[in-house]
Subunit: 353 residues, 2 copies
């Protein structure tokens, strides 16, 4: 008991939808909860539903200028002048006009997508949004930041319900994930651990002390499927229940959580010009989380040849054939299964009294 | 035999991909065939593979300015000045500048999506493309038009392989569809007849004497699935084989073809502000072509209520939960099953000799 981890109360919780504007479960749930928050209310939790990329939601696209879920970098968030601007030639203050091509009478429908940021420079819309979100829910890395942010995503991959963990050291979230897995059994919910030094990216949820990603699929972009919608809704319910119990002072005993750690990004086979020359093999398609071993079929070229996986040891592929990852040169990612242990968890306040 | 329909040889055949730029089977097949046409070559057929909306393909979006597959209207195709332009105030020739807002020094990245059309006016990109396609493959309705155009589409609906017929009187295409259905058995391929007075639209393929739509699904937008790709490829193979046999003079005996005639478009339930308040019911989701009767579940509201189908008689819903049809206020279409009879078919030339 003395070894238990003590956490601050997790009172300030945000639920993000529309970080990708065409992932409809989160967009729809958050829009519903903005209108009527009864479902996400708990006595000891302030849950704020929030549409992070309203312009992308409006257009039903993933993003407008750049991927919001990669935009929360220190450079983007530090301050507005940190955006790549041409250096001023004089010591005078930078004016917005200096950073854009000359267009003295820009017609209304001809404006760049990003409005001019205060302080100068036309930042991409999503960079501006990242700054706004960081102001409201952060600042990232500060004591004022929100305690928990759930960021709701859909995927075209057959991943089922997947919770995304950004740090294997986040015992509070590991306790939460353990709670959710038990609560929804016999339905299943897997944990993807993304703390890869190169493949980890600067997510919207990373503004919070405890970021939680939720991916549910398969669902096409721009489509709302009731089964995916309800699965996401149930996970949020249990997640909020966990936080409520935690804030009430309940002690959670030590536990172990099976996670899938991101290992490697696998691109589609391409020709010398960078054009894709093969598809995900039918044996691999929809086989997210199923073991893949050396020699297993991986791709099928357009002229019918099979390309086999060459890695060593068993990996568990996921994000297989995700629509949004063609532009990121990724056909799937491999993961390795491991078990993380947590200490027991309970809130600090109860012991500090 | 004397009652048989006689047709002209169908030598000039086009295969369109990318009419919707994010429907990847057609885009990929047509791109492959542009590079190497061996697979679609037949002795007596000139098959031209063609990407109809290259800018939408480039951006991996359905369209840039407007839906190309609704753009082949008489108004759009008649001539360039028929586009909605401000009337000139003087009798001088219309100059392009008169129809756009003043922007004397438009920067390069600030140009409107449609390039200025010859003769004046900034037409939407897809209207310009429709005119170009009509010049190359039409003119629509003229003796010079291509004999057959196959237009390759994907859908997020669970429609399997669906051939789309635009006229119940097109016995040549009915013979082709009968041939394809037999050739791919026991796999199945259904025929959707869209000659509804209100719901029929001005498709890219309508430029040809004999238009053929091909929808294969389910496949998310922006995704290439090998099973869908191969299914589409096989249908094209049989279609070209049929045309080759026909051009060789083979006689096709009378046959009947089961078709599903488009009846009615069903929208999502909405509130007073037009916001969607329900999803396709899980019992209906993925149930394309399965009978729907009065009282069957149709939608599920976000607060869990079931909305039942109210129509009379059995209908066969299809295009259920197609991503692109949210903006068209369509959750699915109903169809009625019927059987069309054809006369025997053979080419006219053989008898005129
Ligand atoms: Zn996403
Ligand atoms: Zn289409």
């Amino acid at each position: 008991r003395n070894n238990g981890a003590r956490f601050d109360e997790a009172r300030r919780v945000a639920i993000f939808g529309g970080t990708h504007g065409n992932e409809m479960s989160g967009v729809t749930l958050v829009n519903l909860w903005v209108k009527n928050g009864a479902e996400i209310q708990r006595k000891r939790v302030e849950a704020k539903p929030f549409i992070t990329n309203p312009r992308a939601v409006e257009k039903c696209t993933r993003y407008v200028d750049t991927d919001l879920n990669r935009a929360f970098t220190p450079e983007n968030l530090s301050h507005v002048l940190s955006a790549p601007l041409p250096l001023p030639r004089t010591s005078q203050p930078i004016r917005a006009e200096q950073s854009v091509p000359p267009c003295p009478q820009t017609p209304a429908d001809c404006q760049p997508a990003g409005k001019t940021a205060p302080g100068g420079g036309d930042l991409p819309y999503e960079v501006q949004r990242a700054q706004e979100i960081n102001r409201i829910f952060g600042p990232k890395g500060s004591p004022e930041a929100y305690d928990v942010i759930f960021d709701l995503h859909n995927t075209t991959s057959n991943m089922g319900c997947t919770l995304i963990l950004e740090s294997s050291k986040d015992h509070f979230i590991l306790q939460m994930m353990n709670y959710i897995k038990k609560a929804i059994a016999p339905a299943s919910c897997l944990v993807l651990l993304n703390e890869h030094p190169l493949l980890k990216y600067s997510t919207s949820r990373s503004v919070a002390k405890h970021p939680v990603g939720l991916e549910v699929g398969p669902q096409p972009q721009g489509v709302l499927r009731s089964n995916i919608f309800e699965a996401m809704r149930v996970i949020l319910k249990h997640a909020l229940d966990f936080i409520e119990l935690f804030n009430e002072g309940m002690e959670f005993p030590p536990c172990t959580v099976e996670v899938f750690r991101v290992l490697e990004r696998i691109d589609y086979p391409r020709d010398a010009n960078g054009n894709i020359i093969a598809m995900v093999h039918p044996n691999l398609q929809d086989g997210d989380w199923e073991p893949l071993n050396a020699g297993d079929p991986m791709f099928q070229t357009f002229d019918g040849k099979t390309i086999h996986y060459q890695g060593s040891g068993t990996v568990y592929p996921t994000f297989i054939n995700e629509a949004a990852y063609y532009e990121k040169q990724q056909a799937f990612v491999t993961t390795r299964r491991e078990t993380l242990g947590t200490t027991s968890g309970h809130k600090r306040a109860a012991h500090n009294l």
